[in-house]
């Protein structure tokens, strides 16, 4: 369904977590993956290179995931990018905040490749409408 050459940006301040997400994406057939360790670095990369999908953690130094999301949604050339928010807590207020800030989807960690695929497909389906 989705193009296997889609360019992903994985944003998380923990190198281990970035590596795990990269491995999961590889399991799902996506090998075109870039990383960023905080929102600020992510935003710089997004503005200078083309990406097709953003997966970002919530709590990060310098610029949080929510702040990055808002920044992306307010940039004309970035605002349509699919953005999945990774959250550590499945709390209603977190979900609400992510939704209102414009997230395309959310996923609660820890998660498996199967869950990631499900959540991603949901976003792809919405995009195709």
């Amino acid at each position: 369904m989705a193009d296997n050459n889609m360019r992903f940006l994985v944003v998380d301040d923990f190198a281990t977590m970035r590596r795990i997400v990269r491995n999961l994406l590889k399991e799902l057939g996506f090998t075109n993956v870039e990383e960023a360790e905080d929102g600020q670095v992510a935003l710089t990369k997004l503005k200078s290179q083309r990406f097709d999908f953003i997966i970002s953690d919530w709590n990060m130094p310098n610029m949080t995931g929510i702040e990055l999301l808002r920044a992306v949604r307010s940039e004309p050339q970035l605002k349509a990018l699919p953005f999945m928010m990774i959250t550590a807590e499945a709390k209603r207020e977190n979900i609400i905040e992510a939704a209102m800030a414009g997230a395309s989807g959310y996923i609660v960690k820890p998660f498996t490749a199967a869950t990631l695929e499900e959540k991603m497909n949901k976003i792809f389906q919405t995009m195709q409408k």
Binding site: R19, E67, I96, A99, M100, A101, V108
Partner: protein, 244 residues
Amino acid sequence: MPDQMLANGDSPELEALFDSIVHQSQPLDSGADTGALPAHRKQSADDMYAQIGLLTRKLHETLRALGYDRYLEKMISAIPDTRDKLNYIARLTANAADRVLDATDIAQPVQDELGGRAGALSRLWQQMFDGRLSVEDLKRLAGETRCFLLEVPEQTGRTSSQLNEIIMAQDFQDLTGQVIKKMMEMVKEIENDLLDFLVTFSPGGLAPATGLMPRNAPPAAPVAQEEPAPTRREVDDLLASLGF
């Protein structure tokens, strides 16, 4: 998604909540949401910060007047040590994670290849049983199968040693466990001292200063052990100065 709450807390209800908000709101097109708190919430947050700042200043001056500044200095100087301990834990766990991920990166292709080759050979053997293999092909298949069987122990051995590496990488738990235990003891000690302090200076009682004394207070500290507990007037002054 299975129709119950997952171990990480996610659930169909949460998903539905997310979907309902996304489909009704138009985030950011209006430009109204800049990520700041709504005005009235920001105001009370500012007030709270100011209040806490004032109280902290008052507490600080009071503590200094009571001679606690030296005790606190000692506590504060322990904090870089605490920071080191936390960094140590973070480093050990990160290293362990890397070792485990490296081991799986090595072992997974071995597994995949083993499984793949076994599958291919199996299909050819099926052809043989279906009577679709020539004698020549059968001879070759027998030879390839024998080769494969000879190689399997080496491949499984490689996987075994990676599994072993994963086991060994768990040794961080013992080290980090000890460090965490030490930190918990330190935190409990500070907590007890603070509680003693609060009890002593609470409006309810003038309990004798049990546990109030810093354990290594220098002799020159104004609050010496022979002095009587703070007088009612001192407590009043203290409370008044704290804004109570």
